[in-house]
């Protein structure tokens, strides 16, 4: 498959805790194509976070293989891993993880700072992204002055600014009420429509139902991997731009 963006083959991972080894991933195979929007579901302890961490090059795996955009990701130096993360992957977290003393614009611009883009230029680009997400007038506010939904939108803007191939969203709506969750999902879908693959880890069925494919993990192996027939890729037009 040429257009596979993430390919995982018989992935194994265990955590050693003292004398106990906890086998978390027991041979996971996964193939996510470019432009796909996939959800990974599973109860806690099923290994979904571990899988996401490995895909996000935040963690190493023990056996198997992982190809990101056709490049084999193996044990590598932190510097190289950081470069890969910066270039290929955007992260969206449940708890937003914005830097508290930087305003919205600076938070969004941060990934470009690590690419050594000049301050003026990266702030300009950050403003563009904030504009797209309807947060232009909040650019100079600190995270503490923003609502949950706004914070998550800032985080999405931050994940987008380095033009990644994949966005990894770990419970992106976990801390939001249903209305805001819906907004965030709309945004993610819109992002997906531009061709960026999105992987959402969630345990909410309503969220998973909005993705093209639902992968269920149980006890470290893939239980089911089915195409979601109810998926509709039409974005509720105009919702985004009219907000606030």
């Amino acid at each position: 498959m040429d257009n596979s963006i993430i390919r995982v083959e018989t992935l194994h991972k265990s955590y050693v805790n003292g004398s106990n080894a906890l086998h978390v991933l027991k041979g996971v195979d996964l193939d996510i194509r470019q432009g796909e929007m996939v959800s990974i579901m599973g109860s806690s302890g099923s290994g979904k976070s571990t899988l996401l961490n490995i895909i996000g090059i935040l963690d190493n795996y023990d056996a198997g293989a992982y190809y990101l955009d056709g490049i084999k990701i193996e044990k590598m130096s932190e510097t190289r891993a950081a470069r890969f993360r910066n270039k290929y992957i955007g992260f969206v977290f449940q708890s937003f993880n914005l830097i508290s003393f930087k305003n919205a614009m600076e938070n969004v611009a941060l990934p470009l700072y690590y690419q050594k883009v000049s301050r003026k230029k990266r702030n300009m680009i950050a403003l563009e992204y904030l504009e797209k997400l309807g947060l232009r007038e909040w650019a100079h506010h600190l995270p503490s002055e923003l609502s949950g939904g706004q914070k998550q939108r800032v985080a999405i803007a931050r994940s987008l600014i380095s033009k990644p191939k994949v966005i990894l969203a770990d419970e992106p709506t976990g801390a939001l009420d249903s209305v805001t969750s819906e907004e965030v999902m709309e945004i993610l879908k819109e992002v997906n429509a531009t061709g960026i693959s999105i992987i959402i880890v969630t345990h909410e069925n309503e969220i998973a139902a909005q993705t093209q494919r639902i992968i269920r993990l149980r006890d470290g192996i893939i239980e089911s991997n089915e195409v979601n027939h109810n998926f509709s890729n039409e974005v509720s037009a105009g919702v985004l731009l009219e907000q606030r």
């Binding site: 961490n53 996000g56 935040l58 963690d59 932190e78 510097t79 950081a82 470069r83 993360r85 910066n86 270039k87 992260f91 977290f93 708890s95 993880n97 914005l98 830097i99 508290s100 003393f101 930087k102 600076e106 941060l110 990934p111 700072y113 690590y114 690419q115 301050r119 931050r158 994940s159 380095s162």
Partner: protein, 426 residues
């Protein structure tokens, strides 16, 4: 280097914990402050002592006779003896290591009571008989006129040169003393100069500013000293050690006067070279002590900084995790922590350096004022407490290195944080 994002983080970190930052920085501030003040004071001591002795010939020694302590060649022990003119000639002939030799007469018996008169003025001053060579060992500068010269010696001229204090007592302020006559212990001498010693911290028997020097030969004749030499100073030639030369000189003298060769107490002597060496080691010791204490204090301060940086890293674990997740390289994090540590250290140290210099300057000013109001011949053992530019630059470099070392452990800790663990850190 100047990167707004990096400095923003540093300032935020410092501002959020003002008290903590100040207390931490105080350790380093105090370390450098102590180092500067102590080094400055040490320098003040060295300056004070060397300023009063620096011009004294450091390759010189002095000798005088003492009672013999051993019977020898039919002479009893406890015999009193004297050096004489012949000794000086023999030393010149037989001891090749001697460069200049300056015999002296110390006129104890002519220096009693009001021994000096001029018109209605009178005073009590010490009289010394000297050769021109004495000025090569214990140099003076001439305020008026000239030093004793070879013609004075040769012709046994009744001329004299006088110390500053003698001039003050015996002459009108501003009066030209050269050519004037003074009666010194009953004999008239013509004043040919006024000298000011360059080594006020070394006094040989009497206060030099209250002394009158007359030509050696004149003094022997006028005051009935015959061919006696009370004591003499000499310098060693380059390449000869003073101690060895002194041994040879003493051997010659003992031989001349039938003093037992192993009678070490028959000749008193004073080796300036050794004294200088002792002083040098003393100063070296003081300096080492200062640096040990200063560096020790500084290390204590650095440990404080290191400690607090570990806390800072711990507090920022999550932030660091986020930064790592969105592409910060380990080096970015390390340099961030190091910059913060170096910044804190250097800032604190710079303040310590400034305050220390200020304190030294204050002391210096106070000392200068105090000295101005002191009598001129007061001995001074503390002048110009200061640190040089080298010292300032060195301490700044030490600070930066200290900061780097202090930041190293925390920075390593920060890098070891795994992004996932940091992100779980709620």
């Amino acid at each position: 280097m100047f990167d707004k994002d990096r400095w923003q983080e540093i300032f935020i970190a410092i501002k959020q914990n003002k008290l903590r930052s100040v207390l931490t920085a105080f350790g380093v501030f105090w370390g450098i402050f102590m180092l500067v003040v102590m080094t400055g004071s040490g320098n003040g001591l060295v300056n004070g002592v060397t300023q009063g002795t620096a011009n004294f010939a450091s390759n010189s020694a002095f000798m005088w006779t003492q009672n013999t302590t051993k019977p020898y060649k039919g002479f009893r022990q406890g015999r009193w003896w004297n050096f004489n003119n012949r000794d000086m000639e023999i030393i010149r002939d037989q001891v090749p290591g001697v460069d200049v030799i300056a015999p002296r007469l110390q006129g104890w018996d002519v220096s009693q009571g009001e021994n000096v008169h001029r018109g209605l003025r009178s005073g009590s001053f010490t009289v010394n008989g000297d050769y021109p060579a004495y000025n090569l060992i214990d140099p003076s500068e001439m305020i008026h006129g000239r030093f004793i010269n070879e013609m004075d010696i040769h012709l046994r001229r009744k001329v004299c040169i006088i110390g500053e204090r003698v001039y003050e007592v015996m002459f009108e302020r501003g009066e030209d003393p050269v050519g004037q006559y003074m009666k010194v212990s009953g004999v008239y001498f013509q004043v040919v100069g006024v000298f000011r010693t360059l080594n006020p911290n070394i006094q040989l028997g009497s206060n030099k500013s209250e002394s009158i020097y007359v030509p050696f030969t004149t003094m022997q004749q006028v005051y009935n000293y015959g061919d006696r030499v009370h004591y003499f100073g000499f310098t060693a030639k380059d390449g000869h050690s003073v101690a060895e030369t002194a041994e040879q000189v003493m051997a010659v003298l003992k031989n001349n006067h039938s003093v037992a060769p192993d009678d070490n107490d028959a000749i008193g002597h004073f080796n300036v070279e050794e004294m200088v060496r002792t002083m040098t080691y003393l100063f070296l010791g003081i300096n080492m002590l200062i640096w040990i204490v200063g560096i020790g204090t500084l290390i204590a301060g650095a440990v404080g900084i290191s400690n607090i940086m570990v806390v800072v890293v711990k507090e920022r674990t999550k932030e660091i995790g986020i930064q790592r997740a969105i592409g910060a390289r380990p080096w970015t994090i390390v340099s961030q922590i190091l910059t913060e540590s170096v910044f804190l250290t250097t800032l604190a140290g710079f303040m310590g350096l400034s305050l220390g210099t200020l304190v030294l300057h204050g002391v210096d000013t106070a000392l200068t004022h105090a000295q101005a109001s002191m009598p001129a011949d007061e001995q001074v053992f503390f002048t110009n407490p200061e640190i040089g530019v080298t010292m300032a630059v060195a301490s700044l470099i030490i600070l930066i290195i200290t900061g780097l070392i202090a930041g190293l452990i925390p920075a390593q800790k920060a890098v070891r944080i795994k992004p996932i663990e940091a992100l779980r850190h709620e």
